[in-house]
Each structure stands twice: as C-alpha cells, then as structure tokens.
Symmetry: C2
Subunit: 351 residues, 2 copies
C-alpha cells in the first residue's frame, strides 16, 4: 500500500483556530481552466479622481464634503450595516427556531491615503505606520463605548472582493456581539489556554519557525506565514512574535515592523501575478468587552481569491459551501512561491 505523502495525496487538515477541516487535493492543480475569468483593471489610475467619493475635497452620497486630508481619513459609513440606536428588545420573543436579537454597532470607512491610486504595497512605510496609528485610535475610540464589545478592522481590495472603489481604504465594523468567526476562534483559544496555560498561536508560531516550511517573511517582531490549514490558495497570516492581544499593545518598534511586513507581504502579492492583487484582510484581536483575554494573540488574516493568474480565481462553491473548504495547491508550495518572490514591487522593476 502506498505510504501517505502529504505533498501528493488527497488529505484533510485540521484548523485548531475554528475547529474545522479543509480538503487538500495537491494533484488537482493540473486541471485545465475553461471557466469564468476576472477582468483585469487598469494600473493607470489618476492620483485624484473628481468622481471618487473618497478623494479629498469630494462630495459623498450624503451630501457631505471630505476634508482636504493629507494622511488617513475616517468617517461613518454612509450605508452602514449596523446602527447605533438602542433598541428595546423583549427576550421572550425568541425560541428554538426563530431566535433573533437586535444588534447595535458602528461602521466606519478608513481612507488609507489621499492619493486615489496608492495601495499599501506602494506606500512609504511611514504612511503605513500612520494607518496603524489610525487603527489603534479607532480600536480605542470604538472599544471604549460601553455597548461595543468587538471591533473588526478589515479591508476588501479589488472589485473581485466586492470593493466598489479602488481608492485605498478599509472598514471597521464595531458591534455588541462577537461575530461568529471571532467567537469560534475565541472558544478554541480559550480551551487551549485553559488546558496548557499558554497561547495557541504563540506555541504554533514556535513550531512553524522550527519547521521553516510555511514561513513567507520574518522580521524582529512579526512573522508572515501560510497557515498549515489555509483554505485560500495564497492565504497568509501575520502573527506577532511577542505575546499580546491587541493593536494598542504595539511598541514603537512593533509599529514599524508591522508596517514593514504589511508592505513586504503586499508587494509579494502584487508581484505574484504582476497585478494589483485582490484580497480581504482583517485583524483578529482581543474583544473590547472589558475582560482580560490572555488567550488572545494579535494576528491578521489575508484571504486572497486568485489561484493561477491575475484572472483565474478559486471558486468556493458547491462542495465547499455544502461540505468543506477545498484547496488544490499545498500551503507549503504556496509559501515557497511567495517566499521566493522579489521584495521590490514589479512596477519599480520595469525600465
């Protein structure tokens, strides 16, 4: 009987952060693709677009003018999924099948730069440090509101990720409840902590650094790697080396190193298919419920959809929706590809 070879044979891997499995089919990356291709978007955007509702000075949907901002700029989402209003709720209205509860929250938009065409990989490190400080301020500002127990910082980049405006920006959705994925993660971090009196991601990182198979970038304070249980073809996670729970725990040096690793990772992503690389990314960190959370460790997820080229993505559809996430290329192979890519942005390479 053939002996199990994780680089060749179909297998499942376990994700201890959310207690779910992923099906890995290494041999399958050879299949031809005749399906839908994503459009390629122009790399030649102007620095200022008079029709963009995020550019400085321009007018937004609600009639307000953006300030002539010079670094980053934060405003309340004009079409927020959450509302701040307190709602009176009769608990007895819930039951087994029709359980619902009002949800209170705030959605904000964070413009990363006044320049319409300047994405993270092309920004100076100082500008990224400024974004990190903006995230810190928002985490504090939103987190201190008594009904806000969770602050989700994220970015949807690229039209394939439902982003309707190429102007570099992210979002923050802050709310009363822990969202489903965060609650799952917290439960698993917590039971690991209760069992081992140590931190799951901390211990995982130590093992990954020893194995050195899935590491993409390392600096003094952060490591970017393709998790063993990654579902997206080029999914990565940035983990802090030091154990702390939230973005406001950063030292000055950590702020710089985080900015650096964000820049380097997104440069590698852009270089992969020589395109402005689409992804959704976001930070998972301690809830703002006032409790101590020694089980939490600051980390950031990158979920990029592209698989083979700038136009061919991985579809998480039928089997994946009904059964389980499935990937074709192994995480080890993806990490190797990303690791070997240049640290210089392809646009700066062109003569």
């Amino acid at each position: 009987m053939k002996k199990f070879d994780i680089n060749e044979d179909p297998h499942r891997r376990y994700n201890p952060l959310i207690n779910e499995w992923v099906l890995v089919s290494p041999h399958r990356s050879k299949r031809p693709w005749q399906g839908q291709k994503e459009p390629i978007h122009s790399d030649n955007l102007p620095e200022y677009d008079p029709t963009c509702y995020l550019c400085p000075g321009n007018i937004r949907a609600n009639g307000m003018h953006n300030p002539e901002y010079e670094m980053s700029f934060v405003f309340e989402n004009d079409f927020a999924a959450l509302k701040q209003e307190e709602i009176q709720f009769d608990d007895k209205a819930t039951d087994t099948f029709f359980k619902a509860q009002p949800e209170r929250g705030i959605s904000r938009v964070v413009c990363f730069s006044p320049k319409h065409n300047l994405t993270l990989p092309e920004m100076p490190v100082e500008a990224i440090e400024n974004i990190i400080r903006t995230w810190q301020n928002e985490y504090i500002d939103l987190g201190k509101i008594d009904y806000i127990n969770h602050v989700q910082i994220f970015e949807n980049k690229g039209s394939v990720m439902g982003c309707s405006n190429p102007h570099p920006h992210g979002q923050i959705w802050a709310q009363s409840s822990l969202p489903t994925e965060v609650e799952k993660t917290q439960n698993n971090l917590k039971s690991y902590f209760d069992k081992h009196q140590s931190n799951l991601l901390q211990d995982y990182l130590i093992e990954e650094l020893k194995l050195n198979e899935r590491i993409v970038i390392e600096n003094n304070h952060f490591v970017a790697l393709v998790p063993f249980w990654a579902i997206w073809p080029y999914e990565t996670m940035i983990i802090s080396r030091r154990h702390f729970g939230k973005i406001t725990d950063f030292t000055e040096e950590e702020t710089t190193d985080f900015a650096l690793i964000l820049k380097q990772l997104t440069i590698k992503y852009d270089n992969l298919f020589e395109t402005s690389f689409p992804y959704s990314s976001g930070i998972h960190q301690s809830p703002t419920d006032g409790a101590l959370h020694p089980e939490w460790q600051f980390h950031m997820h990158f979920y990029p959809p592209l698989l083979r080229s700038a136009t061919v993505k991985k579809f998480m559809v039928g089997y994946e929706m009904l059964g389980e996430s499935q990937r074709d290329i192994t995480p080890e192979k993806s990490a190797e590809v990303l690791r070997n890519l240049s640290d210089i942005h392809y646009k700066n390479n062109q003569l």
Copy 2:
C-alpha cells in the same frame, strides 16, 4: 426607546442547523452599487455543441468518448479532488498544530440531459424524475462501498459559481469522512433529537407552515422556503414533509413531487431577474456509514449569489469572512418576492 422591529432594525439570527449567526441589515438594501458586475451570458446556446466535453458522443480531456446518451449520464471526474487509492497512514504523525489525514473518495459528474442548453427549469418533469433516479442509484452505488461514509450530491450552475461549462450537470463527491458542514449539521440534528426525541427540521417545518411567512412553494410531499437564518439573498431550502433521511426513501409520488418542486423553484429563480439564474445547490441527507440516523431529515439547499439584478451579486467578503455572514434584504421579503413570481418560465411567456 424604539421597540425592536425585525423588518427594519439591524439584528442577528441564529441558525440551529450549524450553530452560527447571521447579521441582517434590512435598511441596507437601499445603498447604491458601483462595484463589479457579472457578465450576462447568452440565452441562445445550441442544443449540441461539438466543443463541449459533456455533449453525447464528444471526446473528453482523458481521450474517452461520451456515449450517445439519451437521458442522464454519469462518469468519474477527470480531474477529481478525491482519489480511490487506499493510503497507508501512520496515525502518530498527527499533533495539535499539524493534524492531517489522508482522505479517500470518488468524484463523479452527472450530466442532466443530452441537450447542451436544457437546464432544470426548462426540462419536462419526467426528465427531472430521471435525474432523481440517477441520484438515488449513485447514493446506493457509492454508499455501499465500505470506505464511503458520505455522498455529497451538488450542482454549481453558472460561471459566477465557478461552473466552467453551461451543459446542465451536477457533481457527486463521495468520501470517507463527514465534511465539516455536514458534521456540524449532524451534531446539531443529533443533540436536538436526543433532547426532544423528534426531528429538528420536521418540527421547524411545522412552525414555518403555521407562520406562513417564508414559504415559497408547497406541494403534497415537499415545501420550499427561505429559512429564517438564510445568508444568501434568495437562499432556499426544500424540506420533505414526511420524516425520512435519504433520497432512496422516496415513494413514487415523492419522486414526482420532488421533480415538480425542483422545476417550479428553478423557474421562479430564472424569472426573478429574467436570466438563467446561477446557484450552488446540494442535498443534505443521512451519511452512508451504516448507522441508523433518526436525527437526519432529507433536505436540499440552494445558495444563489445574485442580489439586485442579473449582474449584481452579494459579496461574502471581508466582514463576512472574518466576522459573520451578512445579508441586506430580510428572508421574509425574499420569500414574498419569490412566492409572487410566475410559475411559467419567462421564455415561454414571450410572444
């Protein structure tokens, strides 16, 4: 303080099948859309396409010829995600962070019709009955293999769902393990059954029929509804009225009624935006592990991505990937829209 109004206020709903929540933002459907639009595909496909690898008589990637089939036709996927080979596995190789196990299985493709351009809503009921009998045979044939414990029947329809060929077809992935979503569902069905000695979906269906707010189609043996906890804008579920666990339990009458409800539901879907409506669908039913599963009830999920028109879909991205699924239109509203759509396919309506 404003009293909670589920039709207006942001809220979360609980999905008892998988123990997860969804964020519902009823007010948000008003936001304008400037983002990516999906291409519209031609409705004028030929009945036979000489370049299609699924049409009768044509040649497939592996060099084999399809037979001149007249109803449905099943073959092993030429680029299967699973392999049948038995793999020797040293259990000790697993640990907390790097848990992996080989997975054995079989992937098949089910052509629904020899006609390249005939999708479910346009097929005669007898042809859909024939597909159901094909699914039954496959469930028996695959399920009796001793290492196969789960048979996932599904369809990806439309290029936006990663389907690379418009020829009407679905897939079956049969494997040793229960996939993540099925295992979650089984756990929740099981604990409900253990607690109440009755079936979760059976009891849910009774309540839904009483409330009559989310029902889309009813016939003697099946009900199609928008679940209270639906995440996709026009998500539906077909539930059998009678309690049974698997497709092979159908009576003759149930086969006909299931074919009828499949046809009617997909007609309504096509009529919604007057387009060949994309979706991923699939059957959830008893595992084939040989055990009795009184907790299971046969049901089928439809996950369609479109939100506002034939070209604007809902993106499950940043917040949804990192936090929680989010929807804009309420399930009650979606059910009303679907219910009120004609039962006659829009193409047959045109003079």
